[in-house]
Amino acid sequence: MFRLFRAQLRRDRWQLLYWILGNGLFAAASASALAQEFGNLAERTAILKLASGNRALLAIRGIPDGATEGATVYFEIFTYLALVAALMSTFMTVRHSRGDEEAGRAELIGSTPIARSSALAATLLLGILANVAMVIVVTAGFAAVGLPFGGAAFAGLATGAAGLAFCGVAALAAQLARTSRAANTIAGGLVGVAFLLRAVGDALGTASADGLHVTSTWPSWLSPIGWGQQVRAWGADESLLPLLLSVTLAVLAGAVAVVLVRRRDLGSGLVGERAGRATASRTLRGSFGLAWRLQRAGVIGWAVGGVLLGLFAGGLADPAIAAVKDNGDLAAAVQGLVGGGTAGLFDTFVAAIMAFLGILAAGAAIQAVLRGRSEEVDGHSELLLSGAVSKARALLDSILVALLSIVAVLLAGGLAAGLTFIAVGHPDRFGSSLAAAFVQLPAALVFVAASALVFALLPRLTVGLGWGMLTVGFVLGQFGGLLKLPDWLRDVSPFTHTPVVPGDRVDWTPLLVMAAISIAVAAVSIPLARRRDLVS
């Protein structure tokens, strides 16, 4: 087992290092930025009071617990530290369990004289090690910028515990699903559910009289991310007890996974396989049909995310607005959260949520373009291109599917928001919700065009650069203000240029410029793709 563990560690060391160091740097950078921006207690008290009255802010950040420097940082960023740890753990666990099994490596290992559960045990051990490293690095990140060590250790432990819980969850998902893709979908979906439960539970929480503390409602207590939030590092009610829940979940889920792996056949899952179609449907005949078919399930997943965001925007707008309506300073502060034009509070709130929808749409689109690359690596492109399909046509198909994915995600989010507004008594906001969703389209297009260009010129870097661009765009767009980055750097992100719609004075120019750039870059990439070799 230790040999297997060493082999797995060797395969993953750089990747895990990036995740862990990235999270540590994020912790240190946010803490130091916050110390500059809200250096004194009065400033922090003001911002926390503002937050505890705004359900949307509680949802996308967390719950405040006192106005010390550390507690404010924890409120601002813990959810995202936990999210990174959870995703790292999920992908790592599935990669070594169901991923190996699907690729046939598990068969090779299973033929050697080791126990059936050894490989999974080695993976879980690797998960523990990675999350212990996460604890150390995050703690060090916070301590390095001068925050009290005790709280830093609590914050590190809470982050690692969230990761550990999802090692167990992912190990279990890997036993249920037959493919690593399905296992990642289940476990990754549960990370999303954990995020949403915490968001809803915290948003509906009750604030204390001074506005510096918020008590969450029960949905937060169903979420491993929520348990971490309840650690309230640096806060008045700081406690490690909630982490017992995370550890218990990890142990239980991991144990059930080990029992299952001992009992089931290699390659089988608990979700059975039905006989499929003997012939292809009319829509599958042709290269575009294939590109769409391969992306369909992914688009549905991203669109479900869009629907949830839409429900969120429509359902939480009223209480959020009610909370800030009478407070002029607060209103101004909320408007400061989103750039680009002046708009009513309502519109600002919806726009803040729709900015996330834009990121989902860009993610769906990048995945569609990147599919072209994974098809090439997996040897599928060789089969496709040996038919009467040119490389240019194959890339065009990917771009069109990406475009369809963007429209599907934006439509799902916009419609969900609009319909929710109708349901809560704002029928007039239906059209504006759709507009607020579709204004995100040009920024997402930029990512499509950029990844298509990378695919055509630097095929080996497509996947890394594709997701890397989205991450940078997301961080610059969402955290650029918090991290006090200079304007020119924030302007690198397409998301920064999306205006608030509908607003009083909407500047449409950036949208047109982004769309024009995207079309031009895509138009250049397509013939370029024709000029390169197939690279596997």
Partner: protein
């Protein structure tokens, strides 16, 4: 006879590696052409150049009279291809993959598709991820044969197939040849090539080392004799064209150049033969003669001088 594939001085470099180094290949219309070489000789690279999936770094190449890189789409309408390593879309069923692949060339002939599925004893309703290597190979073969093409490019098409399915494959080759199609068959299964191919090209390290009909190539190789005879080894060994004489139990074993068969047979006839086994020159011998030399040289180089 027109040449359907004409490549001369083909060069392909990947960074510093020279995968093809002046390779020549010419395949005439209507023939089944064997394409032989050990692993890593450049067979698959050549085929990828012929399909326009990668671009030759040097030399000239034409397929069906077209430039395979520039006119790839037009050429592919008439080409059926079976890759050496068939990677299918895991979420598609075998039947869907067959229809998809044939649709890219214009669609399967319905009767042919059904016959092939039956002949290859293939279950098209399973998802591709559950197919074994042999079954994945069947998907590519059925898709290739289900729509008539003028050129079939097959890269080690029978790897993973059992002997019964290999026989089905041979019948299909015979059928498409009768219809006037041309086949380029890359293989290292020599019996398959001997049975099916009109001409063969043998490559090594990205270069063509031999090309011609099987009888032309056999001319270059030797016939093996195992004789129970009164004649002693030295006498036989002194005859021109006789090689590697040694005794094996009561037999005298040696090889004879094709040109020298007549005088050797005459000498044997007068020496009192009690038992005789003659093995015809096989492609295998030819193959080993080309690559065996490499092997012995490699072993030689390992010895300290």
């Amino acid at each position: 006879m027109t040449e359907l594939i004409e490549a001369s001085g083909l060069v392909k470099t990947f960074g510093r590696v020279r995968a093809l180094d002046g390779l020549d290949l010419s395949v005439a219309s209507g023939e089944v052409h064997g394409f032989l070489g050990p692993n890593g000789a450049g067979k698959s690279t050549t085929i990828r150049v012929l399909l326009g999936l990668i671009r030759a770094s040097g030399g000239s190449v034409s397929v069906l009279g077209l430039d395979p890189w520039g006119d790839a789409v037009q050429a592919h309408r008439d080409i059926a291809y079976v890759p050496g390593d068939v990677n299918l879309w895991p979420s598609l069923t075998g039947g869907e993959a067959i229809d998809l692949l044939t649709s890219l060339r214009g669609g399967a002939a319905a009767g042919l598709r059904a016959d092939l599925i039956e002949e290859f004893e293939f279950d098209p309703r399973k998802k591709a991820r559950s197919y074994s290597k042999g079954n994945r190979q069947k998907v590519a073969l059925i898709a290739a044969f289900a729509r008539p093409a003028s050129l079939y490019i097959l890269d080690e098409p029978t790897s993973g197939l059992d002997p019964v399915m290999e026989a089905v494959f041979r019948r299909q080759i015979t059928r498409v040849k009768k219809d006037g199609a041309t086949v380029l068959l890359s293989s290292h299964i020599l019996s398959e090539v001997e049975e099916l191919c009109d001409r063969v090209t043998i490559i090594r390290s990205g270069k063509t080392v031999e090309t011609g009909t099987l009888s032309e190539l056999r001319h270059l190789t030797r016939t093996s004799f195992a004789v129970v005879t009164g004649a002693d080894a030295a006498t036989i060994g002194s005859l021109p064209g006789v090689h590697d004489v040694h005794t094996q139990a009561d037999k005298l074993v040696f090889d004879v150049d094709t040109d020298s068969l007549q005088p050797v047979l005459a000498a044997l006839a007068s020496s009192g033969v009690q038992g005789l086994t003659v093995a015809p020159p096989s492609l295998e011998d030819l193959f080993l003669r080309h690559y065996g030399a490499d092997l012995s040289r490699l072993e030689f180089e390992k010895e300290p001088a």
